[in-house]
C-alpha cells in the first residue's frame, strides 16, 4: 500500500508557554520550540504499522519552508521511506483550503492508496484532511482511532465519538483519514536515527512544479484570515495561592476538607 502522510511542524505546547509579543497582536515567536504536530506523528506511526503488515511505502509531505525539513527527517528516522517538502513564496498566507489545494496537486502526481493527516494541528481547525478528500473526491473519515486493512481495496476503521464510544465504518480506497492521537504508541526516535538520515536528499516542489495557479493559493486566495492574536480579559479566574509550598499544601487541605472532600 502506498501511503502519504501530510504532516506539519508546530510550536510544541508541551514545551512552550505561548505568549503575546510586546505589540500585543501576535504570539512571541522568539525561542519557541517547534516539533512535529502530535497527531501527525501518530499518523506516521500508523502508516508504518500498516506497511509492516501489508507492505508498501510511506511518504511524508509538508507544506512549509526550509525549517520544516527537520520534521521530515525525524519522520524518516522513524521509518518513513520518503520525505517531501512543498515550498514556494506564493504559498505564504494560505488558509486551510489553500493548503488542501496544494496537497491535492501533489497527490495527483503520485499514486497513493491511502492519505493520512493528523486530526488537528496546534493552531489549526481540523480542516485540511476533509477539504483534501472533497477536492480529490475521495471518501473521508475523521477522528480515526483504528485501521484494519480488508481484502478488496477496503479498510475497516473506527472513529472516536462521545463518551469513549467508537463508530465502525468500512471505507473504500483510495481515501483520506484524519488520525486521532492515542491510536498507537509512536516509536522513539534517537539521535542515531536522526543522524542516519541527515544527508538523505529531500526533494522539493514549487508552485510551478505542481502546475499550481498562484491565484488559487496563498494570502490572496484565502477566504479566512487571522487578523491578530489576543488574550481575552479573564472572567473571575482562580484565586491564586502565593504562599510557599508548605503553606499552599495546608491551604489546599483546608479547602478540600471544607468542601467535604476529606474522608
Amino acid at each position: 500500500m502506498e501511503i502519504l502522510v501530510c504532516a506539519r511542524r508546530v510550536p510544541d505546547t508541551s514545551e512552550n508557554e505561548i505568549e503575546l509579543n510586546s505589540a500585543g497582536n501576535d504570539i512571541e515567536h522568539d525561542e519557541l520550540v517547534y516539533s512535529i504536530n502530535e497527531a501527525d506523528n501518530y499518523a506516521v506511526e500508523e502508516a508504518l504499522q500498516i506497511v509492516a503488515r501489508v507492505g508498501g511505502n510511506v511518504t511524508v509531505v509538508t507544506v512549509g519552508g526550509e525549517g520544516d525539513e527537520e520534521v521530515l527527517r525525524r519522520e524518516m528516522a522513524m521509518g518513513a521511506n520518503h520525505g517531501v517538502l512543498i515550498t514556494d513564496d506564493a504559498f505564504s498566507g494560505s488558509d486551510g483550503r489553500g493548503i488542501a489545494t496544494i496537497l491535492k496537486a501533489f497527490v495527483q502526481k503520485g499514486n497513493y492508496d491511502l492519505i493520512l493527516t493528523g486530526v488537528q494541528a496546534e493552531a489549526g481547525g481540523a480542516q485540511v484532511g476533509g477539504m483534501l478528500s472533497a477536492l480529490l473526491d475521495y471518501p473521508f473519515a475523521s477522528l480515526v482511532n483504528s485501521i484494519e486493512v480488508l481484502d478488496g481495496r477496503k479498510l475497516k476503521i473506527s472513529r472516536e465519538i462521545e463518551g469513549g464510544n467508537k463508530e465502525l465504518h468500512e471505507i473504500d480506497l483510495p481515501c483520506v483519514l484524519s488520525i486521532q492521537t492515542g491510536i498507537n504508541e509512536p516509536r522513539y526516535v534517537g539521535m542515531r536515527g536522526i543522524r542516519a538520515v541527515a544527508s538523505v536528499p529531500i526533494p522539493t516542489f514549487s508552485a510551478s512544479e505542481l502546475a499550481l495557479d498562484p491565484s488559487v493559493v496563498g494570502e490572496a486566495a484565502a477566504k479566512v484570515k487571522r487578523v491578530d492574536y489576543f488574550v481575552p480579559a479573564l472572567g473571575k479566574g482562580a484565586e491564586m495561592l502565593h504562599g510557599n509550598r508548605e503553606e499552599n499544601v495546608d491551604r489546599v487541605l483546608e479547602l478540600v476538607a471544607a468542601k467535604g472532600g476529606l474522608k
Binding site: 489576543f230 499544601v249 472532600g261
Partner: protein, 328 residues
C-alpha cells in the same frame, strides 16, 4: 444578508444541547436573522426531533431518507450540498459529527470554513468576524472570514448561551424530495460502546485528576497515593490516555467520561475545552500547574503554580498526618 442555517444533531428524537446554542450564534451574526434549522434522519425519531426544535426555529427543513437513519457525514454532506442555496451561512456544532462534515462541505459549496468558533462579532461588509482559540486556549485569535460565497462555521459546544427569547411556533418543511439518491464509499457498520473500567470515576465525590504534567507512567503512583489517602479516585486528561499511562475509562472529557464530583484537583492539566466539557455540576476546582499561563487557571476556583511531582507527595504526607492524628 445571507440566509443562515443551523444543522441540528439529534438522537432518539432529542435534539443535541447545541440546537438552541446555534440559534444564539445565528443572532450574533445578524440580530434580525431568523435562522432555519436543518435535520436529517429517518422515521419517528426525526419527526420528534423536528417538533422539539420548533420552539427555537421559525422554519425547520426536514430531510428524511432511510440511508440517513444513522448520520453518516459522507451522505449528509451530499444532501446538504444539494439543498443549500448559494451563499448560505451554515452553523454546525464542533463535535465529532461537525468535524467529519464541515471541511468537505465547504469545498462542495465553494464557501469559506471556520472551525470551533467561540465568539461571533457580527458582519462588516462581506466579512464575518469570529473569535477562535489556539494553542489549547492559551491565546485567542480574531479571524476574518469572507462570506461573499457563503460560509460553514463550526461552533464550540457551550460557547453560546441559548437566548431567553419567547418560543416561536416553527413550521416543518419537508425537503426530502429535493435530496435525491445518496451513495457513499464509506458505510456505517455499528457503534462499539466503551468498556467499563476497574474504577467508576463518575461515582466519586473527589477526583485527583492528572494531565501531561505527570510526565511519565511511573509517576501515576504519586496521584494514586494521594487519592488513596483522600478516599478519592484518580482520573486523567487525554494525553495520559494517549500515552497509555491510564485506561480510557479514567479519562474526563468530551471523548471520555462526564463526572460530577464535589472536589476536582486538576494536577498538571492545561485545561483544554474538551477536558472541561467532561466536568459538570460545578465542583470546587483546585488547579496545580507549572505553567502560570495554563488556561485551567481561568476556570479554577483556586490555583497554585507549582510542580505536581513535588506538590502532590507533600499533600499526601499532610493528609496521612491528619488521619493519624484523628485516629489517636
Amino acid at each position: 444578508m445571507a440566509r443562515i442555517f443551523a444543522y441540528i444533531v439529534h438522537k432518539a428524537g432529542v435534539p443535541h444541547d447545541t440546537a438552541t446554542q446555534l440559534a444564539a450564534a445565528a443572532k450574533k451574526i445578524d440580530l434580525a436573522s431568523s435562522p432555519t434549522a436543518i435535520l436529517t434522519g429517518w422515521g419517528p425519531g426525526l419527526d420528534a426531533a423536528c417538533d422539539n426544535v420548533c420552539a427555537s426555529y421559525s422554519e425547520i427543513w426536514k430531510l428524511s431518507s432511510e440511508v440517513l437513519a444513522y448520520p453518516n457525514a459522507e451522505l449528509v454532506r451530499q444532501a446538504l450540498a444539494k439543498i443549500l442555496p448559494p451563499g448560505s451561512i451554515l452553523l454546525i456544532a464542533h463535535e465529532h459529527f461537525g468535524i467529519d462534515l464541515a471541511p468537505g462541505l465547504s469545498i462542495k459549496l465553494n464557501s469559506a470554513v471556520v472551525s470551533d468558533a467561540v465568539e461571533i462579532a457580527g458582519v462588516a461588509g462581506s466579512f464575518l468576524n469570529i473569535v477562535r482559540q489556539e494553542f489549547g486556549g492559551q491565546v485567542s485569535a480574531h479571524v476574518r472570514c469572507d462570506i461573499s460565497s457563503g460560509a460553514v462555521v463550526t461552533v464550540r459546544p457551550g460557547a453560546f448561551k441559548a437566548p431567553e427569547s419567547a418560543p416561536v411556533a416553527g413550521i416543518v418543511v419537508d425537503k426530502s424530495s429535493e435530496v435525491g439518491a445518496l451513495t457513499a464509499r464509506r458505510r456505517y457498520l455499528g457503534t462499539i460502546v466503551a468498556e467499563a473500567g476497574d474504577v467508576d470515576i463518575t461515582k466519586h465525590s473527589v477526583l485527583v485528576s492528572i494531565g501531561r504534567g505527570i510526565q511519565e507512567k511511573d509517576n501515576v503512583a504519586i496521584a494514586e497515593e494521594l487519592a488513596e489517602a483522600l478516599g478519592a479516585a484518580v482520573s486523567c486528561s487525554r494525553p495520559v490516555v494517549d500515552a497509555k499511562w491510564m485506561e480510557k475509562s479514567r479519562q474526563v472529557g468530551s471523548s471520555g467520561k462526564t463526572v460530577k464530583p464535589k472536589v476536582y484537583l486538576a494536577c498538571g492539566i492545561s485545561g483544554a475545552f474538551q477536558h472541561l466539557a467532561g466536568i459538570k455540576g460545578a465542583p470546587f476546582l483546585i488547579a496545580i500547574n507549572k505553567n502560570p499561563k495554563a488556561p485551567i487557571f481561568q476556570v479554577a476556583d483556586v490555583g497554585i503554580v507549582d510542580d505536581i511531582l513535588e506538590f502532590l507527595p507533600e499533600l499526601t504526607t499532610k493528609v496521612r498526618e491528619l488521619h493519624s492524628v484523628a485516629a489517636k
